[in-house]
C-alpha cells in the first residue's frame, strides 16, 4: 500500500495537468497553417492516463473535449506494448477506428514515459483543410462512401522513437491539395503533443510516478462524483423527445435518468444515409456527452470520470452508428441534431439552464477558387454564427457559433478580402421575422460574399432550413438557415445543401443564419424592451404591432 498522498500535492498535479493541456493548445494555435485551426479553433488537445482515459483537455470547441481518448484506445487495441515506445507518434482519422468525426479531423497521439513505464498520453485533434477526396476540402454532400472523402489513416505510426517515418509523411502530404498547409498543420500538431509530453514527464519526475498516477485517478473520481451529485438533482424518469430532419425524416430519443445513470437510447432512428450525413458511434457519444454536461454542471472539469454515468445505445447501421464504408463527411450536422434532440428532451429538467431551440447548425460553408490578385488557389472552410434560443432568464444571444463551438472566432471581413480575394459587402444581424417572444430568440446574421475570381465555387450543407428552432411557452419559432446566390443578372437561387456550385465574378453568396426560438407570449414582452427594440431597429413598427400588440 502506497503511503497517503497529501491533498495539496494532488491539487497541484491536477492543475498542472490542465496547464499542460492549455499550453499544448496555445502551441497548436500559434503554429498551425490553416485558419480553420488558428482562427476557428477547430481543434483540441488532451492528456489521457496510460490506458487512454481522458484526464484533462484543452479545447476551442466543447465538442472536441472528449475526443482524443478514443484514438489512444484505438492505438492500444492495435499495437502491442513492445511497439509503443518513447518518442513514437501515432495518427488516426478513421471514424470507424478512433477517429470519431470525419477524415479531415486528424488525431495525433504520443505516449509519455517516466523511466520505462508508460504513464500517460498526449493527444491533439485538428481539422486539416484537405487530405484529398472527391471534392476540395474533402467534404462533399455527394459522397456515398468514405473512400471519396480523402486519405484514410487507420491508426498508423508517424514517428518511430523520435524519428519521422518519412515515407508515411510523404504519402500524407502528397495526397493533399494544399500540401504546404498540411505539412505546417502536421508539424504544429506534433509540436503541441511534444510540449505536453515534456510537461507531463516533468510533473511525474518531480512528484514521483506513483503520486502522479494516483492523482490522475483521484481526478477522475472527482469528475465522477461531481456528475453523480448533479444527477441527483435531476428528476428521475424516462423522457421521450422527437424532431424532424429537413428531409422530413423523424428522429427520436429516450433518455432515462436515475441517481447513478444517464442512458441515452437512440434506437429506432433512420437507417444510415446513402450520402455523408452519418455520424460514427463515437461521434454520437460526444453529442450525448455535451448534452449531459449542459444539463448537469457547467464547470470546466471534464474527464473520463465525468462521463462514467453516461450510456449511449444506438442501432448498428443507423445514421447515428453507421456501418463501414458509409460516408461521414457531414457528420457534424448529424451530431448537432442528435445533440439538439437530447437537449430539447431534457433541458427542462434543469430550470436554471433550459433554453428554447437555437439555429442548431454548424452552417459549414466552403468556397474556393483562384485569388484574383495573387493567382494562388484559396479555400474557405468556415462555420457560421447564428441566433440562440431565449430562456426564462431573458433574450437569446445573437450571432454566436453553435453549441458545438466555444472559443471559436469568425474571420474578419478585412482578412477575408485580403486572403480570399472576394468582397464582404455586409455582415449584419438578421432582421427577418422569427423568434418573437416575451423574451426574443437571438438574431442570426446576413452576410454577403461578392465573388471576384473566375473559377469560384461554393458548397454548403446547412440543417434547420425547414424544421425551425423550437420555441417555449408560446414564443414563436426561430427562422431558417440557408444561402441565396444572387447572380449578376439579379436572378436569385436558394440552397441549404449544394456541392461545388459554380460562381462568376459579381455573383453574391448571401448567407442567412436563423434566429433562435422565442420564450413566452410576445404579447407579454415588457413595453420598455419593445421601445428599446424599436429605437435600436431590432424590430420594425409593423412587427411591433403584429407580434407584440404594441401600440404607441
Amino acid at each position: 500500500m502506497a503511503k497517503k498522498i497529501d491533498p495539496i500535492t494532488v491539487e497541484i498535479i491536477q492543475s498542472s495537468l490542465q496547464a499542460a493541456c492549455d499550453e499544448m493548445f496555445i502551441a497548436m494555435r500559434k503554429t498551425a497553417m490553416s485558419s480553420i485551426i488558428y482562427e476557428v479553433l477547430d481543434f483540441g488537445t488532451a492528456v489521457t492516463d496510460s490506458n487512454g482515459n481522458i484526464a484533462a483537455s484543452g479545447a476551442g470547441i466543447p465538442a472536441f473535449i472528449a475526443m482524443c481518448d478514443k484514438a489512444v484506445q484505438a492505438v492500444l487495441k492495435k499495437f502491442d506494448d513492445k511497439d509503443i515506445n518513447p518518442g513514437d507518434i501515432f495518427a488516426t482519422n478513421d471514424p470507424y477506428n478512433g477517429g470519431v468525426t470525419h477524415l479531415n479531423d486528424v488525431i495525433v497521439v504520443m505516449p509519455v514515459f517516466s523511466g520505462k513505464k508508460r504513464i500517460a498520453w498526449t493527444a491533439n485533434i485538428a481539422h486539416w483543410p484537405d487530405l484529398g477526396g472527391m471534392a476540395p476540402g474533402g467534404i462533399s454532400a455527394d459522397a456515398t462512401e468514405i473512400f471519396q472523402e480523402g486519405l484514410q489513416l487507420p491508426v498508423i505510426k508517424l514517428f518511430n522513437q523520435g524519428k519521422p517515418i518519412q515515407s508515411v509523411i510523404d504519402i500524407i502530404i502528397s495526397n493533399s491539395r494544399v500540401p504546404q498547409y498540411t505539412k505546417g498543420d502536421m508539424w504544429a500538431a506534433i509540436a503541441s503533443i511534444r510540449v505536453g509530453e515534456k510537461r507531463i514527464k516533468d510533473i511525474s519526475e518531480k512528484y514521483g510516478r506513483d503520486t502522479f498516477e494516483k492523482s490522475v485517478d483521484l481526478f477522475m473520481e472527482y469528475g465522477e462524483n461531481s456528475s453523480l451529485d448533479s444527477l441527483k438533482k435531476l428528476k428521475n424518469g424516462t423522457y421521450y423527445g422527437e424532431d424532424y430532419l429537413d428531409n422530413g425524416k423523424k428522429i427520436q430519443v429516450k433518455v432515462t435518468i436515475t441517481n447513478k445513470e444517464f442512458i441515452v437510447d437512440l434506437r429506432n432512428n433512420p437507417v444510415q444515409d446513402t450520402g455523408p450525413n452519418n455520424a460514427s458511434y463515437d461521434g454520437t457519444v460526444v453529442s450525448a456527452q455535451m448534452a449531459f454536461k449542459g444539463v448537469t454542471s457547467s464547470d470546466f472539469i471534464c474527464n473520463a470520470g465525468t462521463f462514467r454515468p453516461l450510456k449511449v445505445i444506438c442501432d448498428e447501421g443507423s445514421m447515428f452508428n453507421p456501418i463501414r464504408p458509409a460516408a461521414q463527411g457531414i457528420y457534424y450536422e448529424t451530431d448537432i441534431r442528435s445533440y439538439d434532440l437530447i437537449w430539447k428532451t431534457i433541458s427542462h429538467l434543469n430550470p436554471d439552464k433550459s433554453t428554447a431551440g437555437s439555429f442548431a447548425s454548424i452552417c459549414g460553408t466552403f468556397m474556393g477558387g483562384t485569388h484574383p490578385d495573387t493567382n494562388e488557389p484559396f479555400i474557405i472552410i468556415e462555420p457560421q454564427i447564428g441566433g440562440w434560443g431565449a430562456s426564462a432568464a431573458g433574450d437569446g444571444m445573437s450571432a454566436n457559433f453553435s453549441a458545438f463551438h466555444g472559443d471559436t472566432f469568425n474571420t474578419p471581413a478585412e482578412i477575408h478580402e485580403a486572403r480570399h480575394g472576394l468582397y464582404v459587402n455586409q455582415m449584419r444581424l438578421n432582421n427577418q421575422e422569427g423568434g418573437e417572444g416575451k423574451f426574443n430568440g437571438g438574431k442570426g446574421i446576413i452576410m454577403d460574399y461578392r465573388v471576384r475570381s473566375k473559377n469560384a465555387w461554393v458548397s454548403v450543407a446547412y440543417t434547420r432550413s425547414k424544421t425551425l428552432p423550437w420555441s417555449l411557452n408560446k414564443g414563436r419559432e426561430g427562422s431558417a438557415n440557408y444561402i441565396e446566390v444572387i447572380r449578376k443578372n439579379k436572378k436569385i437561387e436558394k440552397y441549404s445543401v449544394v456541392t461545388g456550385l459554380g460562381l462568376e465574378p459579381g455573383d453574391i453568396v448571401r448567407i442567412y443564419t436563423g434566429n433562435g426560438g422565442g420564450f413566452g407570449d410576445p404579447k407579454k414582452r415588457n413595453k420598455e424592451m419593445i421601445k428599446s427594440d424599436l429605437l435600436n431597429q431590432y424590430i420594425t413598427k409593423e412587427q411591433a404591432k403584429k407580434y407584440y400588440g404594441y401600440k404607441k
Binding site: 497529501d6 491533498p7 495539496i8 497541484i12 492543475s15 498542472s16 496547464a19 499550453e23 494555435r29 500559434k30 503554429t31 498551425a32 497553417m33 485558419s35 488558428y38 466543447p62 504546404q180 498547409y181 505539412k183 505546417g184 509540436a191 510540449v195 472527482y222 462524483n225 461531481s226 454536461k293 449542459g294 454542471s297 457547467s298 437537449w343 439552464k353 433554453t355 437555437s358 454564427i385 440562440w388 432568464a393 431573458g394 444571444m397 445573437s398 450571432a399 454566436n400 463551438h405 466555444g406 472559443d407 471559436t408 472566432f409 469568425n410 474578419p412 478585412e414 478580402e417 485580403a418 468582397y423 455586409q426 455582415m427 449584419r428 444581424l429 454577403d448 429605437l535 435600436n536 431597429q537
Partner: protein, 690 residues
C-alpha cells in the same frame, strides 16, 4: 532640482522623487510619499501626496504621471455617450464581435454588451480594398442626419472606423475633418490614428473605447495641468503609456486609450531599468499585488509589447479587445488578498476572488472572514505578527487561527498544513503564469533573473524561483512603490504599427525599405510638432514575420538602414531561429512580412543613481530580532530578522532569514544566500549550497 513621478492606483496614490545634485547631476536622494486616491477628482490625491512629500513642484524639472482614470471609467462604465460611424454593412460589427463563447457549456451565455448601442451606430457608403485602393467613393449625404441624431441623443464623442482604413486612412480623415469643421463641439477619434492594424471588430472596439474615454481624459489632464501651473511647475509633464514609455499630455489627450495600463507597465519598465543599472539583461519581472500577480519577460534589456490585449476577458466572458501596443503582461487572480476556499469535493483553491481592501484579509481585523494568502503567510510567521503593515495594524491572530481551523477541518489537515497548502497552491498558480511567459515561449528560466516587487513580491519570489530553477532573485529597494520609480526612469516612446503584406523576397525589398523609411519620416514629424528634435530620436525596427499562410507571427528585431539581399537572408535566418525557439520546429516554406513595427524613442536625460552609503556597520547589527518561521517542507526554523533599512552594500547573510521594512517582507529560505548590492537591492541566490 527634482524629478517627480506620481502613480494613481486603485487605493493609493504614490509619489516618488529624486533630488538631483546640480553639480554632479547625480540623484542625491530618492524619497516617496503615499496618499489616498481621491475619486472622482483624482488630481486632488496627487496634490495631497505632493504636499505630504514636502517638495516644491516649482523646482521640478520633470513630472511623470501614471493613472487608473482610464481603466476605471471603462470598468465602471462612466465614459461619455459615444456614437460610431462605420462602413455601410458593418454597424453590427461591435455587437457581433467574433462569435466566440469561452463559457463552453452555458447555453444562456451573454456576450459582453457593446459600449455603443445599436441606435448610435451609423453607416456611410464608401470602400477601400485591402491594398488601400478606393473601390467606391465616400458618400456623406447622410452625415447631417447622422449628426442630428447624435445630438438628439446627447452624443459627446464620435468614433470613426472604416473598413481597410489600416491600408488607407483617407476616408476616415476626410470624414473627421468634415465633422471637425462643421461640428467642432464633438470629440473625434479615428481608428487610423490609433492603429494601422487589420481586423475590423478589434479596431472598431478600440476606437469606440478611446472615444468613450476621451472627454474624461482630456478634462482630467487639463485640470491636472492647470493645478501644476498654479504651483508654478515649469517643465513639460508626461503621462505613462501602456507601451512602456512616457508621452506628453498633448499627445495623450488625442488618443488617451494608450494609457489604459500605465501602472502595471511602469513596474515592468522599472525592472528593466534596475537590470540596466546592475548589468542584468534577461529578467522575469513579477509584481504581486493585492488581487493579482502580473509577470512579464524582458530579453536582452528589451520590454516586450504586443497589440493583442483584452479587458474583462476570462473563462466566462469574451471580453473587449484593445488593439494597442501594451507591454506583454500575463496577469492572474492571485495576490495577497486572494481567498482560499474548499469546494464540495474537499479540494483547496486560492483565488481568483479577493478580499479586496475592505474587509481585506482576516488578519486586518476589519470583519473579513475569508482566509487569504496574506493570512497564511502570517500564520507561518513569514510575515511578522508584531510588525504587521509596518506596525500600523494589530494583526488579528485569533481570528486567523479560528478561520484556518475551519478550513483545515474541511480538508482533514492540521492548521499548519492548511496554511502551507494555501501558500503552495498560490505559488503553483503563479508558477503556471510564469511558465506561460518563459518555458512556454522557449525561454529557459535558468537563464533569467527574477525581479520581484509589489506588496507580495518578496514573500513568494524565492520559492517560485526554486520551483522554476531560476538561480537569482532580486528584490529592489523601494519595491512597494516600484511602479512610480519605473516612471522616473522612462523615455518618450511612440509605437507605430502598420499591417502591410509583403513576401520576404528580393522583389519586395523596395517596398519594405520604403515603408520603414516613410514610417520614420512620419515619426520625426510627429515628434517635431512637440518640438522634439530628430537628433534625440532613436529608432528600433521590428517586423512580424510568418510562414506564408499562417496567421500568428513572430516579431523579429531588424537592423536599421536599407536592406539588400544579404541583409534579407540574415533577417530570414534570425526568423527561422526565433520561430524554432518558440515552436520547436521550422519550415522551408516562403516567409511573409505581415506587420511593420517602428519604435521611436526620444531619450530623456536621467540622473545617475547614487549608491547607498556604507557606514562600516557589521551585518549582524542589521538583525533586529529572531523568530520561528515555517518553511513548509523544511519545517519550522529559527530565523534572523533583518531590518531592510540597515542593510549596506556587500553585506552577505544566509537563510533562514526574513528581511523587513514597513511595507516589504522578504523570505530567504534555509540554504539560500542573500547579498546586498551597491544600491541596497537584495540579490538572493536560490541554488542550495552543497
Amino acid at each position: 532640482m527634482i524629478r517627480v513621478a506620481t502613480d494613481v492606483g486603485g487605493t493609493f496614490t504614490d509619489l516618488v522623487y529624486f533630488e538631483i545634485d546640480e553639480k554632479t547631476k547625480k540623484a542625491k536622494k530618492i524619497s516617496n510619499a503615499k496618499s489616498d486616491t481621491t475619486p472622482p477628482n483624482y488630481e486632488q490625491g496627487v496634490f495631497k501626496a505632493i504636499k505630504k512629500s514636502g517638495i516644491s513642484i516649482s523646482e521640478a524639472i520633470f513630472f511623470a504621471h501614471g493613472t487608473t482614470v482610464i481603466i476605471n471609467s471603462i470598468t465602471e462604465r462612466k465614459g461619455s455617450v459615444t456614437g460610431l460611424i462605420t462602413t455601410k454593412g458593418f454597424r453590427d460589427s461591435l455587437e457581433i464581435a467574433r462569435g466566440d463563447r469561452p463559457d463552453f457549456f452555458n447555453l444562456r451565455y451573454k456576450k459582453p454588451k457593446p459600449f455603443i448601442p445599436r441606435y448610435l451606430r451609423t453607416e456611410v457608403p464608401g470602400r477601400m480594398d485591402f491594398l488601400g485602393k478606393e473601390i467606391e467613393k465616400l458618400q456623406l449625404n447622410d452625415l447631417k442626419k447622422i449628426i442630428k441624431s447624435f445630438k438628439s441623443h446627447n452624443v459627446k464623442s464620435i468614433a470613426i472606423c472604416l473598413l481597410h482604413s489600416y491600408a488607407n486612412p483617407k476616408h476616415e480623415q476626410v470624414l473627421a475633418k468634415k465633422i471637425k469643421q462643421q461640428w467642432p463641439e464633438f470629440e473625434i477619434v479615428t481608428s487610423s490614428e490609433l492603429t494601422r492594424e487589420w481586423r475590423e471588430y478589434e479596431r472598431t472596439n478600440t476606437t469606440a473605447l478611446c472615444a468613450y474615454v476621451k472627454p474624461i481624459a482630456k478634462n482630467y489632464l487639463d485640470n491636472l495641468f492647470i493645478e501644476l501651473k498654479k504651483y508654478k511647475f515649469k517643465g513639460n509633464p508626461y503621462v505613462m503609456q501602456s507601451n512602456g514609455g512616457i508621452d506628453t499630455f498633448e499627445s495623450t489627450k488625442k488618443t488617451p486609450l494608450t494609457i489604459i495600463e500605465s501602472g502595471p507597465t511602469s513596474g515592468v519598465l522599472g525592472a528593466a531599468e534596475i537590470g540596466k543599472l546592475i548589468g542584468v539583461k534577461d529578467i522575469i519581472a513579477l509584481d504581486i499585488g493585492g488581487t493579482t500577480a502580473k509577470c512579464s519577460l524582458i530579453e536582452d534589456g528589451n520590454v516586450k509589447i504586443n497589440t493583442n490585449y483584452w479587458i474583462e476577458k476570462n473563462r466566462t466572458s469574451a471580453g473587449y479587445p484593445v488593439m494597442l501596443p501594451v507591454v506583454d503582461i500575463v496577469e492572474i487572480g492571485n495576490g495577497g488578498g486572494s481567498i482560499a476556499w474548499v469546494d464540495d469535493y474537499k479540494k483547496l483553491h486560492v483565488g481568483p476572488q479577493s478580499a479586496g481592501a475592505s474587509p481585506g484579509p482576516v488578519s486586518y481585523g476589519k470583519g473579513g472572514n475569508s482566509i487569504t494568502t496574506t493570512d497564511a503567510n502570517l500564520y507561518t510567521k513569514r510575515i511578522n505578527p508584531s510588525y504587521f503593515c509596518g506596525g500600523e495594524v494589530n494583526a488579528d491572530i485569533k481570528s486567523v487561527d479560528k478561520h484556518i481551523s475551519t478550513l483545515s477541518k474541511k480538508l482533514k489537515l492540521t492548521k499548519i498544513e492548511t496554511a502551507r497548502g494555501i501558500i503552495r497552491i498560490a505559488n503553483n498558480n503563479m508558477t503556471n503564469a510564469l511558465k506561460l511567459i518563459s518555458v512556454n515561449k522557449g525561454h529557459d528560466p535558468r537563464d533569467f533573473t527574477l525581479v520581484a516587487f509589489g506588496g507580495g513580491g518578496g514573500m513568494h519570489a524565492t520559492s517560485l524561483a526554486m520551483e522554476l530553477n531560476i538561480p537569482n532573485v532580486i528584490i529592489p529597494i523601494n519595491s512597494a512603490v516600484f511602479s512610480a520609480w519605473g516612471m522616473l526612469m522612462s523615455d518618450l516612446r511612440r509605437d507605430f504599427i502598420l499591417t502591410k503584406l509583403n513576401k520576404m523576397d528580393i522583389d519586395s525589398l523596395g517596398s519594405i525599405n520604403e515603408t520603414f523609411k516613410k514610417m520614420e519620416t512620419k515619426a520625426i514629424s510627429n515628434f517635431k510638432k512637440e518640438k522634439i528634435h530628430k537628433n534625440l530620436i532613436q529608432f528600433q525596427r521590428y517586423a512580424s514575420l510568418r510562414y506564408l499562410g499562417q496567421d500568428h507571427s513572430v516579431e523579429v528585431l531588424l537592423p536599421s538602414g536599407t536592406y539588400d539581399k544579404k541583409e534579407l537572408n540574415k533577417i530570414l535566418i534570425s526568423f527561422h531561429k526565433q520561430y524554432e525557439k518558440e515552436f520547436t520546429y521550422s519550415l522551408d516554406n516562403p516567409v511573409e512580412l505581415i506587420q511593420f513595427h517602428l519604435v521611436a524613442v526620444a531619450k530623456i536625460e536621467k540622473p545617475k543613481l547614487e549608491k547607498r552609503k556604507k557606514t562600516g556597520r557589521e551585518v549582524r547589527e542589521a538583525i533586529k530580532s529572531k523568530r520561528k518561521v515555517d518553511f513548509d517542507q523544511l519545517g519550522e526554523r529559527i530565523s534572523d530578522i533583518y531590518d531592510f533599512d540597515k542593510l549596506e552594500p556587500n553585506m552577505v547573510f544566509n537563510g533562514p532569514a526574513i528581511v523587513e521594512d514597513s511595507s516589504t517582507t522578504v523570505v530567504v529560505f534555509p540554504g539560500q544566500r542573500c547579498k546586498v548590492d551597491d544600491y541596497a537591492n537584495l540579490h538572493i541566490n536560490t541554488q542550495k549550497k552543497k
